[in-house]
Amino acid sequence: MTTSPVKALVVDKLEVTFDRFRALRGVSLDVMPGESFGLVGESGSGKSTLLRAVAGLAPTSGGSISVNGKRLDGKRTKAFYREVQMVFQDPYGSLHPRQTVDRLLLEPLAVHGFADIEKRILRALDEVGLGSSFRFRYSHQLSGGQRQRVAIARALILEPSILLLDEPTSALDASVQAEVLNLLEQIRRDRKLTFLMVSHDLAVVTHMCDRLMVMQNGAEVERLSAADLAARKVTQAYTRNLLVASEGFVRPGTPAA
């Protein structure tokens, strides 16, 4: 395990405590470059907290996080945010309501001192399938799916190597979800990105990820590959419950189909 290549992300026995509440209880995981790793669990399982801790948005109280072989300490540097970008759950809340798409995309480029701003904005919009006609619109003039595309464009515009995705499609319609998931897969292939994706939907995670971790109460329940999950090779009762729940409602008394 210690040989080449350098792991994209290593989380080791990470602890996050809010006041006296332990939100994360010694969670470890490692993600290889170009891999897509999923975190599944219900509300309060700590899956989003883990993602936020990696991004520097949640206070860690123990353990360590390394990105591309470099250990992260305290405040994240600018260079870190060029490598790691995040897409949030709610596209209605994560875009500034009084900034145009152009301003939204310009901001990260300005912060990081990019020169060819014009070209990059056009390319980013094009890449997420929103022609240049969307450039001077406000986010309230966009649909949920279009907003999430803007959020993805904003994350991609700095050309990061790791994308943190926090329930990127759970606020969207099923049909729009399919479009956004396809877009994310396309981008990952084209740019050889590493994904760390959080979702409460087992089906979405198995679709998108090679490996996944099931979490509950801030700790790991089980780590397994998507193929194992598809073959129902699960060892923990909790995972099995999630699996059953994802298949829809079964009326008691009727035999399962």
């Binding site: 396809n182 087992l202 679709h207 829809g248």
Partner: protein, 277 residues
Amino acid sequence: MSTLLTVKDLRVQFPTRTGVVDAVRGVSFTLGRERLGIVGESGSGKSQTGRAIMGLTPPHAKITAETLNFDGIDLLHVSAAERRSLRGNRIAMILQDPKYSLNPVMSIGRQIVETLRTHEKVSKSEARKRALDMLAAVQIRDPERVFDLHPHEVSGGMGQRAMIAMMLVTGPELLIADEPTSALDVTVQLDVLAILDNLVRDRGMGLIFISHDLRLVSSFCDRVIVMYAGRIVEEIAAKDLHNAKHPYTQGLLNCMPKIGADTHPLPVLDRKPEWAA
């Protein structure tokens, strides 16, 4: 099976600065004491259909229908007072997110009692007892404790149970559930559905279940109406859903990722203009 609700050619229009928006365009269906699902994407008019039946359409909107009849009552032409006496009493509605649909500054118990005492002349102690019974009926383990809690002190699943308790305490005949489980975790989702299922069966209610999740609806309802751009594109028995004819229904079914099915990329809807015609 007796008919509880008849909807014929229902239309809901919103005048806006840029012209009239047709949210619902000629929806017709009948409902007995059964579980009917209404499925569609955002903007398909499914929620506006539910709200029109409930009488919660904003006042500036225009509602027309050939028939909108609930158990012999013409809902389009009754007075506001009669509408109020129906609403929450014989027709009830469960909304999507308990975080926003419960009163944040009132304890859960008081909200349930308020609903009950608005519609029935019962003493305070009787109302309290019935509220506690109802909380127990939605499988809240410690009704006495939850009665005095405020909505922010309970989890989403518990809040939604309290919401269901509040809506069912008056014993309605028609229940409209607008995305009742979308804000909940999958495991909690099934608990809430099981509670809803039992109550609907035991009390012989008619249920309209509005959702964007076709698979969930089909596993729960007897019959499903699929809406697109304000119209019904297909009506189908839930058990025949896999034989759905309309490409939109098929599209909705296929676009969801499925565990074990290795479809990359996922099929997306190829929207045809004639669907909305």
